[in-house]
């Protein structure tokens, strides 16, 4: 009996080892000068949102700049650091971390490998005195500005005067979306009500579409007819929620959702009013290009409305949903924000 159970464990273990060891070894390619490694957030590279945008950017870089690209989708937060260190040990030219959660990890790794260049999306890495590391580019976005514009569109569209906001994790970065959205909506209708909910307080919050849908349904129950999501995979639940209410007699959806990070207009065409696009793809592409052309600069790279770092998406899926005069108003507000005439509150500013 003892022997049999031992055998059983051996078989199981070797199966696990076999499964975990598949995939290309990192050294496989030698035909390129620049090696880029990217470590995704827990949501994974196909979340049709934030990670997907980063993935698009590095893929474009791979094609157009002839760099070698390796990616890791960490299974849990503890496998982020080993992945980064593996890239660093292999002397990669650039290591990209996606998501604020990787900030503290990258800080440790970047300190240990001062000759390797790093970039972090949505994170800020500084030493004790608040000075940025010379080998780390912190790619940050002025999400509140983009959210302000989609808030305006939402308020123009809303018939009930109630808007919803479904956030992922309850953290300052996500509050930044919410405050911008609310301010934008108020600029159109000062009496508008914004109902906000967050999926959770742990990183499960990005991966619970069922809960995301429940939150959206409860907001609709309270009268919300446009819901802005900033919740990764959980946000897709809100898309299901608005779809449930179908389209009215005029052929237009009864409830709308606003996508985030990537252009999500095509996820449920007709139900997506617009998307607050964060051009993570451009930011990531640029940093790869800088590394390849040897003009990489560490420190903060801020992407706001001015550099089209954030934007609202209009395409064939939603053009009919937003009237011309609304677009005009929004464009007007956009130039005022860029010029500094409208100040949007940044929930993360201390």
């Amino acid at each position: 009996m003892k022997n049999r159970s031992f055998l059983f464990i051996i078989v199981l273990l070797s199966a696990v080892l076999l499964l975990s060891s598949c995939g290309d070894p990192i050294e496989a390619r030698t035909d390129c000068k620049t090696k880029v490694g990217i470590v995704f957030d827990i949501g994974g590279k196909n979340d049709r949102s934030f990670n997907a945008a980063a993935w698009e950017g590095v893929q474009r870089a791979e094609k157009e700049l002839n760099v070698c690209l390796y990616d890791v989708e960490p299974g849990n937060p503890t496998s982020i650091e080993p992945a980064m260190r593996a890239f660093a040990e292999k002397n990669f030219d650039l290591i990209i971390g996606v998501g604020f959660a990787q900030g503290p990890i990258m800080e440790r790794v970047a300190r240990d490998y001062p000759n390797i260049k790093f970039a972090i999306v949505d994170g800020v890495i500084t030493d004790k005195d608040g000075k940025p590391f010379p080998n780390v580019a912190s790619l940050v976005f002025r999400e509140h500005e983009g959210s302000y514009l989609v808030g305006m569109i939402a308020a123009e569209k809303s018939k009930t005067g109630v808007l919803g906001f479904v956030g992922g994790m309850d953290i300052p970065l996500i509050h930044r979306f919410k405050t911008g959205y609310e301010e934008g909506a108020r600029s159109i209708n000062p009496n508008i009500k914004v109902v906000d909910n967050y999926v959770g307080v742990t990183d499960h919050a990005w991966n619970d579409p069922g809960k995301g849908k429940e939150l959206a349904l409860s907001q609709i129950e309270k009268g919300a007819d446009v819901i802005f999501t900033a919740a990764g995979n959980s946000g897709l639940g809100a898309f299901d929620a608005v779809e449930k209410f179908g389209k009215g007699e005029n052929g237009e959806a009864r409830k709308f959702v606003i996508g985030v990070d990537s252009n999500q207009n095509m996820v449920k065409p007709g139900f997506v009013l617009t998307s607050m696009v964060k051009r993570v793809d451009n930011a990531v592409y640029n940093v790869v290009e800088e590394v390849r052309n040897n003009n990489f600069q560490g420190g903060f790279h801020v992407f706001g409305l001015d550099k089209d770092g954030v934007a609202y998406a209009v395409d064939e899926n939603n053009r009919a949903l937003i009237p011309e005069d609304v677009i005009k108003k929004v464009e007007d507000a956009k130039s005022k924000i860029v010029a500094g005439e409208i100040k949007v509150t940044d929930a993360m500013a201390k």
Binding site: F8, G43, N76, D208, P209, K213, K222, G237
Partner: protein, 300 residues
């Protein structure tokens, strides 16, 4: 307060309770036969993943639901072999299944859809249908409660299963095939837990995302203990947990008189605090099947 306790809260409670009822009823069969089933979480994930993939590929939610149940049964069989055939520690083996199911869907999903994080989204037309705004799966879950009660307390099979969990040696002496009963209990738990998982991915939402059960398997286990391993109390306990989860939503956007939100951390601990209070204070002694967790080794 009127804006918190609404009609919608009832529907929300039912939706939250549905996967818990499936999983807890499943856990009941396993534990009544004497096998601790901490693997409910992993079994649910297996069901959720299989349902999402099969439904996406075939555009038939019932085929997806059925395949999920079969997948859950197969995975439970692996767990059963470890625990029953090889007398592995049931808690350790169960955790092994849970950890395995965090990884396996990701590997398959990465290979098939080039994304470890989630599968493709399923069109609304191909999700499990709803009647009167309640999912097909919810009706099934509630219908299973009396059926499980009948099987467990009114059939010879149920009597043998319970005997196996209470006193396997006596059951054995009476001619009950103890190991076979335990196999059946564990496999039924896999079938049911996977149905709960399938509801999550193709009923409540429209895709599988990594670790999407988010601890619901463990909540189901807590409900099972709270309900003292009895079907009708299991349903009530699951409704209770579903209710606390549903209650969190309106509370978290509830404005105090001062116009401030209640800090979300306080609200999100409500389900857990209530669980501790109820488990510790109100139910009295919860007596587990006597032979729970003890491998049965026949005397030679």
């Amino acid at each position: 307060m009127g804006e918190i306790f609404t009609f919608a809260l009832i529907f929300s409670t039912i939706r939250f309770a549905t996967p818990l009822i499936f999983a807890a009823l499943g856990g009941m069969f396993s534990e009544r036969s004497g096998v601790i089933n901490i693997a409910l979480e992993g079994l649910m994930l297996a069901g959720a993943f299989t349902a999402a993939v099969v439904t996406y590929e075939t555009s038939n939610p019932f085929l997806g639901f059925g395949s999920a149940i079969i997948a859950g049964g197969l995975l439970a069989a692996v767990f059963a072999v470890a625990c029953i055939e090889f007398n592995a520690d049931q808690v350790v083996a169960g955790f092994g299944i849970n950890i395995l199911m965090l990884g396996v869907p990701a590997i398959i999903s990465a290979a098939v859809y080039d994304s470890a994080g989630s599968t493709q989204q399923i069109d609304k037309a191909y999700q499990l249908p709803s009647y009167f705004d309640i999912s097909f799966a919810s009706f099934l879950a509630f219908a299973l409660v009396p059926i499980c009660w009948y099987i467990l307390f009114k059939t010879p099979y149920g009597l043998r299963l319970r005997a196996t969990g209470e006193n396997p040696a006596a059951a054995d002496a009476a001619g009950v095939k103890v190991l076979r009963m335990r196999y059946s209990g564990v496999i039924i738990s896999g079938l049911l837990a996977a149905a709960g998982g399938a509801y999550l991915s193709i009923g409540q939402s429209s895709l599988f995302t990594k670790g999407m059960t988010a601890g619901r398997g463990f909540i189901a286990l807590a409900a099972l203990i709270l309900a003292k391993w009895k079907p009708v109390p299991v349903m009530l306990a699951c409704l209770f947990f579903g209710f606390t989860e549903a209650l969190v939503i309106p509370l978290s956007s509830y404005k105090l008189a001062s116009g401030e939100n209640i800090p979300v951390q306080f609200i999100q601990i409500i389900p857990y605090v209530l669980t501790i209070i109820v488990l510790a204070g109100f139910i009295g002694l919860s007596r587990a099947p006597k032979a729970l967790g003890i491998p049965y080794i026949k005397e030679k």
